[in-house]
Symmetry: C2
Subunit: 279 residues, 2 copies
């Protein structure tokens, strides 16, 4: 069995390198339009060969889409047109628009919507690592609409990645990821912009940056090519959480501005409840 | 030589445990009003004994203040009244108000204002670790106002902690820490509050939380008893950076709201310049 990975960056490359470790398939075929990334993917051994999409579709049983979500929207209907008994899995970070787009497709059953809750702030083939997915959660969205054999093959791949699984509907998935993933990126982008701006007048501003700053700002290294489409595809949920987050910051601002230190202490103490969630 | 550590929590305890490793002094005396923390500090071997402040001042050459900044403001003038040839070092996170308070004190020269840019989101004696300070920066503020021998003894202690050093004036210090430390805590507190609120209606919201979320929210575990006084003492700088940060978030919001995806892409790309600063 051959597997096609469409988009050999952080996610696609990490799947490739891991599947080569586990000998899950005969060949891993990369589909990648960027020539420099093609070369790197081969050099790093993330894939066995690079082929055009049409060719890869003919030779592979599983097609994994790991391109940005706007590219998935463009590619998926066309790919589904061409599949017969293959399985197409997308690994995009938003799901509502993608699922709506192919809801009535005659080959809908061959498609499995999945989202691995794993990643780093780095991108491109050089960022690929074999254990990116280990013990992380693979979310299946509307899995009941996939053919049984298609889902089982997708889930066998998830097993190879040593992941846990979770099931959700599309609305739930897109709202939850807005709250526990997309907003974290927005706060990091905004924090980086805030301090970079200040650096212009205060040259030494980063001298005192320690691990706390690093922790809250590291996601600001994330790729705009990946994240702009995510925010676009999940626009209403992202606007909701962003508005709510700005309101929480304003609340902290108001407490400090009015010197209501008891109120400020209470808000901080309430936020400490996050201890229950993260170790 | 004996050293007194006033406030045996994360910072004080970590200094104690490290100085015991390096045999820098004969005895480490803890001054700690909380009885449970007294017991833990002795059990964990962070200090050799616990004494009342007055007693510790008589028996120690170096007095290190590692209580919250509001407590430093209360204690410091009184401690300086009593010192003769001792050295008093405070490790508080804000400096302007503390330095203004003792600027004219007859024993000003015996005092060294220092701020170790190190910490974790945990607090209390159990949080103490011997290598908390290794390779981090100790900032000295208005060091030229300390007696030469007092500064040298403080710097010898910094050496024991294996830290690098940096020199600043108080205004600069308080503004810089607002931008690269205090704001990171505020964004984490606000992010925790945002998602904890949403959990009330969406029970499974934390199921998909991954390493990115964890990274941006972990500081929300920080102690309100430590942070409320920091925000209070650094109020104007913190309000400035908070306002600027809210504006950056609003800018991202407006770009998304008006579907200006080129503009959004540009902002994210600009924030990527943080790569230059953090590895």
């Amino acid at each position: 069995m051959n597997i096609a990975i469409v988009g050999v960056g952080l996610i696609g490359g990490s799947i490739g390198i891991r599947l080569k470790e586990t000998n899950f398939c005969d060949k891993i075929i990369g589909v990648e339009k960027n020539e420099s990334n093609q070369r790197k993917a081969l050099e790093l051994g993330l894939v066995d060969e690079i082929l055009p999409l049409e060719e890869a579709l003919k030779r592979c049983k599983i097609i994994v889409l790991t391109v940005p979500v706007d590219a998935i929207l463009k590619l998926l209907p066309n790919i589904l047109d061409q599949v017969t008994d293959q399985v197409v899995i997308d690994m995009g970070s938003t799901k509502t628009n993608i699922l709506a787009l192919i809801a009535e497709h005659p080959h809908r059953g061959r498609y499995v919507a999945a989202h691995p809750m794993a990643g780093t702030e780095y991108s491109g083939p050089e960022a690929a690592i074999p254990h990116l997915f280990k013990d992380k959660v693979m979310v299946y969205v509307e899995a009941f609409k996939s053919d049984e054999d298609a889902f089982e093959l997708a889930d066998a791949l998830t097993d190879q990645l040593a992941m846990k699984t979770s099931f959700m509907n599309a609305d739930e998935h897109d709202m939850h990821t807005a709250y526990v993933s997309h907003i974290s990126h927005l706060t990091s982008f905004a924090l980086a912009l805030t301090v970079l701006e200040k650096e212009k007048s205060q040259g030494r501003i980063f001298e005192l940056a320690g691990s706390g700053f690093q922790s809250t700002v590291r996601l600001a290294k994330s790729s705009p090519d990946m994240w702009t489409p995510i925010f676009k595809q999940n626009r209403s949920n992202v606007l909701e959480v962003l508005e709510e987050h700005i309101n929480q910051l304003k609340d902290l601002y108001d407490k400090l501005e009015s010197e209501d230190y008891d109120g400020l202490h209470k808000l901080i103490k309430r936020s400490n409840k996050i201890k229950r969630i993260i170790k």
